[in-house]
């Protein structure tokens, strides 16, 4: 029985990822990366583009190295890129799938 509680508690531990919405069309992953670098090391940054339209859908994911960095980013009230206010919220892990444009190559 003692393990039951453990299982329940463990499921909440996730990766430090910020989910960003309302990204202006003028910005792509490098702009996001540049902006979020002030809060910590951005491991990976993805802004999926729709290959049917050539535009992205205004959503992106920022992978930080640590929870603290994510926390820093979430603490900041206003995130503005190209004059547009972004919506930033923590992301539950494992959300990235499909056709995406990522600048992760610039990592490491």
């Amino acid at each position: 029985m003692s393990t039951r509680g453990a299982v329940v508690l463990r499921t909440n531990i996730g990766r430090p990822v910020a989910f960003v919405r309302k990204i202006p069309w003028t910005a792509a992953s490098s702009e996001l990366r540049e902006h979020f670098a002030q809060f910590g090391h951005v491991r990976k940054c993805t802004v999926p583009f729709d290959k049917e339209t050539g535009f992205h859908k205004g959503m992106g994911w920022i992978h930080f190295s640590s929870e603290e960095e994510l926390h820093n980013a979430l603490q900041q009230e206003n995130h503005i890129i190209d004059g547009v206010k972004l919506h930033v919220q923590p992301q539950k892990p494992k959300a990235l799938q499909g056709d995406q444009t990522s600048d992760e190559e610039k990592d490491f």
Binding site: M1, S2, R4, G5, A6, V7, V8, L9, R10, N12, I13, P24, W25, T26, A27, A28, E31, F49, K51, E52, T53, G54, F55, H56, E67, D82, G83, V84, K85, T101, S102, E104, E105, K106, D107, F108
Partner: protein
């Protein structure tokens, strides 16, 4: 009532329950199955899609009801039209109310939908026609009228009957659109249609004449009206004002007002507006002003809308200079904003965009809130209407200056990109650049996309040139995603770019090429490129694509070779942190990119890969290894961890560090020299700690206490905690505090201290540590909370009451963690462990009172039941039902009875009248059973809940299958499949897939089609406001979110209320139900649709699905009818459907039906993709089933030996027939068939049948029969005693599939364990350079291994099943 039996208790509970029900209506509402008008409980069970649909349904029903008042005989078709009308009205009305206009796309959509619905009602036609006038400001006047005509003609074709209202609506549209037409012709048309014009018709015709300035024409009509004694209204006079004005006679125009008054009609705003417009058209501002003043003085009132009309008149007549004067008079009432916007759009459409801007800038939109940009609609429409780029630039500037819009240029650019206007985009980008706004590569992607779709190479070139012009270089992404797909080969891209003088960075280009090849899995190319490449570049730039490529290609050797090259070659991993890191991250990302199932499936390959890397001496850093280890752990393939571990770079850690004794002597030396030793001491202590040498470390600390630093203490404290040394840990902590009271340990060390101190009864000290954690704000993460739980739980298991209570209290009151059920459960565990049930229950109840949680209530109940503590159970139940409701109580009791094996009692509880399914609770118990591997309990749960109201049976069976999978119990899984059918449950796809997986894993045949995912279909569905189209989507998507049951329920609800959806919706629902193999419900929907929608038919796919389902259900007659229907509709049924039907008929021995089908599809065989052999095989099979073996054989022989053969003997495949005969154990038939096959071979040299038969025999394990067949054959033809099969291979030159034959031969050797022959075969084949498949090699390898011999090649890593399937698939694709 002290000692009840459990049975009594049960009765008691049920009785109470029944009393509750009879007592309160409130309870009824809460618990009884809810039918009838209120749909609320249903809604709560569905998510938004259901909600949307239901509200739709309700709207429809309300509309339908309203209609019923009006219409005497509400037939279903009336209702349908009524609901269709209400829907259309709602959509258009909403749009008009919100924006004052209707977007063309919306009108088109409503129109298409109306056409789709069969015969549109008159009111729908009216609605559509009415919308074609000024409500479409974005369309040119002529286009609007065209649209109206299109609607008119189309609906007429569909049988809509027009009355005078439609003609009048059309006239209105003409007037609004300034459409020039002949009123007399119009009247003639009406007459021809036998429609009597009415007053409105005449009025509008007068207006039409007047608009043309034709007073004479207007007078004629007026005369008509007089003869008919029709009253002349203000509208007529207003028209006459316009008429006189347009004929150039302003004086008479003015006079009309006097005439009106004389006739007893006071001129109203409309008349004045006509006059004002007349003056405006003449550019007569003075008279306009005078007239306005006159109106102001009167008690009349002109609205903004009227003033806007005057502005339009001025602008259109070419007097924009007077616009500002009128603008001043506008009040900008909120409700007129849509009108203003419409005028702006209309002006843009009329190419009067300057005036439009003027009005836009005059709009008093609050400018403080910079968030809402105003004017986007204007800019977008300007782009659509091709407003010159320079003008647009200027507009953007002005909008920005006026602070109406924060980023007009960016927005306009976006519009230009969406509209694929390269030239405009270029101008705008240049303007942006001048403003200092960066122009980014991805701005060009939308432009490329358009050309890419049409494979327009020239267009692509133009865009690339444009990029160059703006000074943007295409990056790899641009090439890979947007340029390359337009070309056949990358070579041709290069050529075209060069031809057209498109400058490109060769480096970027070739790397893009590399990425593109990588993504496509062309690893050969990658390897050779990397080998020959001269430009150094970073490996990491290729990483993402390479990972995709690796995952596409299964050639592990190439994986390794490429990795090795990247690792070792100076060209690629030069930059720090070097190849070890780079390759390490690559491996990490490779695994991270795969799903767990993918990693599981490729486990063997990955292992091979890691081992090859090891041999190549590739190393990865330890920290990255740890990351990979965690990944593999979370993917549930820990078996691979050791294989990655071999790659870890170890030398580094070992060689660099000095040993502890080195450090110690160094320390002593320094001490002797009287030098500072703090650093060295800390190093040494940390090292001793890592060596777990507590004794030595403590001694050292004692010896050099004055030189100790914080870091050394921290390590020591941790060490003591690890060694369960509470005494020293506490002392060290105190010394640590003395050294620096502000120093903070990390969370883990604090937690360990709490644990050790608590364990050794130093409660107060432990609590002090907790307090310190709070004071020093030590971060508490989820993991920390988990540790707290373990500390408490450990103490509870040891029975340390005070420790658990006080620590829990401290943690919760300090706010370090929330008192969750999990964290608080040790409080109960404490007593459960001691078997003190009253205290345990008390503690649970106490938790509820304090924290509103009931920890371990289930376990408490179980124990109480086990001990027969009736009174306490009653107490617990009273408490639960009082606090959490009766339903919760019943579930608690149900689960406790189940858990304790009191199934009869559990059954009574769950059969309580009024109880309904609680999915989350049921799921909780299922998961618990799975976790604890309680098969029987879960089986009982599933069994007992069979009749439970609203119970999701499929979900329960899914859980059961999950548990069977854990135990790999395919027999039970198979039984579930049957039980589900018995219960008439339609399994979800995931259930079927799971079942299939269990069966396959155990090498069992899967008795159903494993469903494919149909995510594809969802993709092309646009989303917008709710509409029937939307409803379709919702029904369609429902099967992901919930079940098709929901969708079907909605259908039923709608049906009950006589709501009819459109064609499409039903088609999709039917498809959905068929996919779920639910033909009964599908037929129900089909019948309903057929009786309610004229000409409703299923499409090709649905009919095919229906056939398959009917076949599966064994409704062969119905299936045949469906096939006929489909063919009558000129549909092409799927090959699968036809084949299934034929095969099913054959198995029934129904030769006649097969002949019927053959006739039905005659001529369509090629389109369906049906081979003649399907008929030959199945007719023969049917005949055999009817015991007409000889007839069957004779006809086959005839076909193969006659002069005019319809099928080439080489392709005369009878494998299906043979297999069915073998499978069906039709021995007499098999015998005769064998003889036939031999005869054909011996006498007619037709070898295909004998080969097929032989292969089928081998395949079904009848090796002896196969051998016998061969012996007969060889006996006849060859007298040699050579290996039988070998001779067969040689003597049948036409044998198409030698490969399979060799494989079969090897299989038969394996059966016989004949290593020698196998070796001979292998050698002879390798000598002949025959390419051997993996299945062959695998078999041979296993045979060798079993015989204890070495394998002279790499054994294929996958299972037999895998390669057998692979071989089969490759064969199928070649057919």
């Amino acid at each position: 009532m002290k000692y009840f039996s459990l049975r009594c208790l049960c009765h008691w509970v049920v009785r109470i329950w029944e009393q509750c029900i009879s007592a309160g209506a409130g309870l009824m509402y809460r618990f009884l199955p809810c039918h009838g008008p209120t749909l609320i409980p249903f809604i709560t069970n569905c998510v938004s899609f259901c909600r949307g649909l239901l509200s739709q349904a309700r709207l429809h029903s309300i509309a339908a009801e309203k209609k019923n008042y009006l219409q005497e005989e509400p037939t279903s078709s009336h209702r349908r039209n009524a609901s269709q009308f209400d829907w259309a009205l709602m959509r258009l009305d909403n749009s008009v109310r919100r924006t004052g206009r209707i977007p063309k796309t919306l009108l088109q959509k409503v129109f298409d939908n109306t056409c789709h619905s069969g015969s549109p009602g008159g009111n729908q036609a009216l609605l559509l026609l009415r919308s074609c006038g000024s409500l479409l400001p974005e369309l040119k006047l002529s286009e609007r009228t065209e649209f109206a005509h299109k609607i008119w003609d189309e609906l007429q074709k569909l049988g809509t009957v027009y009355d005078v209202s439609h003609y009048n609506a059309l006239l209105k549209v003409y007037l609004q659109n300034d459409h020039k037409f002949s009123p007399t012709d119009f009247l003639a048309r009406m007459e021809k249609g036998n429609i009597q014009p009415n007053r409105v018709t005449y009025q509008r015709l007068i207006a039409a004449y007047c608009n043309m300035g034709d007073i004479e024409g207007a007078s004629t009509i007026l005369g008509f009206m007089k003869t008919k004694d029709l009253p002349v209204t203000e509208a007529v006079f207003s028209a006459l004002v316009t008429g006189h004005a347009r004929s150039g006679d302003m004086e008479n125009a003015e006079n009309i007002l006097t005439v009106m008054k004389e006739a007893g009609i006071e001129p109203g705003p409309d008349t004045y507006l006509a006059l004002l417009n007349a003056y405006a058209e003449k550019g007569d501002i003075d008279h306009v002003k005078q007239t306005l003043e006159k109106v102001e003085k009167s008690d009349l009132y002109l609205m903004d809308r009227d003033l806007l009309q005057i502005i339009l008149s001025f602008s259109k007549a070419g007097y924009p200079q007077y616009v500002p004067e009128i603008l001043e008079k506008i009040t900008y009432e909120r409700r007129y904003i849509p009108d203003t916007m419409n005028l702006i759009l209309l002006l843009v459409t009329e190419k009067l965009e300057d005036t439009a801007l003027q009005i836009l800038l005059a709009c008093p939109i609050s400018r403080e809130s910079s968030q809402n940009d105003f004017g986007s609609f204007f800019l977008r429409h300007c782009v659509t209407m091709n407003t010159p780029a320079e003008k647009l630039k200027d507009y953007c500037k002005k909008l920005k200056e006026a602070q109406l819009h924060t980023s007009p240029l960016q927005f306009t650019l976006q519009c230009a990109l969406v509209a694929q206007k390269l030239d405009l985009a270029k101008v705008l980008m240049k303007a942006l650049k001048e403003e200092g706004f960066p122009i980014r590569t991805h701005y060009f992607w939308p432009l490329l996309v358009g050309h890419q779709k049409e494979k327009n190479v020239q267009g692509i070139v133009e865009v690339l040139k444009g990029m160059h012009e703006i000074g943007v270089t295409p990056d790899q992404e641009t090439y890979v995603n947007y340029v390359f797909p337009c070309f056949d080969s990358i070579k041709s891209v290069r050529a075209v770019l060069q031809e057209n003088g498109c400058p490109h960075d060769d480096n970027v280009f070739s790397q893009a090429e590399l990425r593109s090849k990588a993504v496509n899995g062309n690893l050969d190319y990658i390897l050779s490129f990397l080998e020959s490449n001269t430009l150094p570049f970073s490996f990491s730039s290729l990483r993402g694509s390479l990972i995709l490529g690796f995952r596409r290609s299964m050639n592990i050797n190439l994986w390794s070779k490429i990795t090795e090259l990247l690792y070792k070659d100076g060209r690629y991993c030069q930059e720090p942190p070097g190849p070890t890191e780079a390759v390490g991250y690559f491996l990490y990302n490779l695994i991270d990119s795969m799903s767990d199932s993918e990693v599981q499936a490729k486990e063997e390959r990955l292992r091979q890969y890691f081992h090859q890397l090891k041999e190549m001496n590739v190393k990865i850093p330890e920290n990255i290894y740890r990351g990979i280890r965690n990944l593999l752990d979370s993917y549930h393939v820990p078996e691979l961890i050791k294989d990655v571990n071999i790659l870890v770079e170890r030398e580094k850690t070992d060689s660099r560090k000095p040993s502890s004794s080195d450090l110690e002597s160094k320390l002593e030396k320094l001490k002797a020299e009287n030098q500072p030793i703090g650093d060295i001491l800390k190093q040494l202590i940390v090292m001793l700690c890592s060596e777990e040498n507590m004794q030595k470390a403590l001694e050292l600390k004692a010896k050099y206490e004055s030189d100790m630093v914080v870091g050394g203490y921290a390590a020591l404290i941790n060490l003591c905690c690890r060694h369960d040394n509470a005494e020293d840990a506490l002392n060290l902590k105190r010394e640590f505090d003395r050294l620096d009271s502000s120093a903070v340990l990390d969370t883990g060390k604090y937690v360990r201290l709490v644990k050790v101190l608590g364990k050794h009864g130093k409660l107060q000290d432990a609590i002090n540590i907790l307090k310190e954690m709070k004071e020093k704000d030590v971060p508490v993460k989820d993991a920390t909370v988990l540790s707290f739980f373990h500390i408490l739980n450990g103490a509870a298991l040891r029975g340390e009451t005070e420790t658990v209570k006080q620590l829990h209290e401290a943690i919760v009151t300090l706010g370090l963690a929330k008192p969750s059920t999990a964290l608080s459960s040790p409080l109960v565990t404490l007593y459960l462990e001691k078997d003190d049930l009253p205290a345990a229950l008390e503690s649970t109840i106490d938790c509820y009172e304090k924290y509103k949680i009931l920890p371990r209530i289930h376990d408490v109940l179980c124990k109480l039941i086990e001990k027969g503590e009736t009174e306490l159970i009653q107490k617990a139940m009273d408490f639960v039902s009082q606090e959490q409701g009766e339903m919760t109580m019943l579930y608690d009791l149900f689960f406790a009875f189940l858990q304790t094996g009191n199934y009869k009692e559990a059954k009574k509880i769950i059969e309580t009248p009024g109880i309904r399914a609680r999915p989350t609770r049921l799921q909780w118990f299922c998961d618990r059973c799975i976790a604890n591997n309680q098969v029987e309990t879960l089986e009982k749960l599933v069994e007992l809940t069979q009749k439970l109201f609203e119970c999701d049976r499929d979900q329960l069976y899914y859980s059961l299958l999950k548990l069977y999978k854990v135990n790999d119990d395919w027999q039970k899984a198979d039984a579930v499949w049957n039980k589900m059918q018995e219960e008439n449950i339609i399994p979800r796809e995931k259930t079927l897939r799971l079942l299939a997986e269990i069966l396959r894993n155990n090498n069992q045949e899967v008795p159903f089609d494993v469903p494919e995912l149909w995510y594809e279909e969802e993709k092309d569905c646009p989303t917008s406001l709710p509409s029937p189209v939307e409803v379709n989507l919702q029904i369609m998507s429902s099967h992901f979110l919930f079940s098709f049951i929901d969708a079907f329920n909605i259908f039923l609800t709608a049906k009950k209320q006589n709501i009819v959806f459109d064609n499409e919706t039903y088609a999709r629902l039917i498809n959905l139900l068929l996919m779920k193999d639910n033909s009964t419900q599908a037929m129900q929907v089909k019948d309903f649709a057929e009786t309610h929608i004229k000409g409703f038919t299923l499409n090709d796919a649905a009919n095919s699905l229906l056939i398959i389902t009917q076949v599966r259900r064994d409704y062969l007659k119905d299936a045949l009818t469906t096939l006929k229907t489909a063919l009558d509709l000129d549909q092409i049924p799927s090959r699968l459907a036809v084949t299934r039907l034929i095969q099913a008929c054959a198995l029934k021995g129904d030769t006649e039906s097969i002949h019927d089908i053959q006739k039905l599809v005659n001529g369509l065989e090629d389109s369906i993709g049906l081979s003649r052999m399907v008929f030959i095989n199945n007719i023969a099979l049917a005949q055999i089933k009817n015991n007409n073996i000889d007839v069957a054989i004779e006809s086959i022989e005839n076909m193969l030996t006659s002069e005019n053969q319809t099928v080439d003997p080489q392709y005369f495949g009878l494998a299906y027939l043979f297999r069915k005969v073998i499978e069906g154990q039709l021995e007499p038939a098999l015998k005769k068939i064998s003889i036939m096959a031999e005869r054909l071979a011996n006498q007619f040299a037709v070898y295909k049948p004998v080969t097929d038969l032989f292969l089928q025999l081998v395949d079904s394990g009848k090796v002896n029969d196969a051998r016998a067949l061969l012996q007969v054959m060889t006996h006849h033809m060859w007298s040699s005693e050579a290996p039988v099969m070998k001779s067969l291979l040689e003597l049948i030159p036409e044998l198409i599939d030698k490969e399979e034959a060799y494989t079969c031969l090897m299989k038969s050797y394996v059966f016989d364990n004949d290593v020698t022959s196998a070796k001979a075969l292998y050698e002879s084949l390798t000598a002949k350079n025959v390419k051997l498949n993996d299945l062959f090699l695998k078999r041979y390898a296993v045979l060798l291994k079993n015989a204890g011999e070495s394998v002279p090649f790499t054994e294929p890593p996958e299972s037999f099943e895998f390669y057998a399937k692979q071989l089969k698939e490759s064969k199928e694709t070649h057919l």
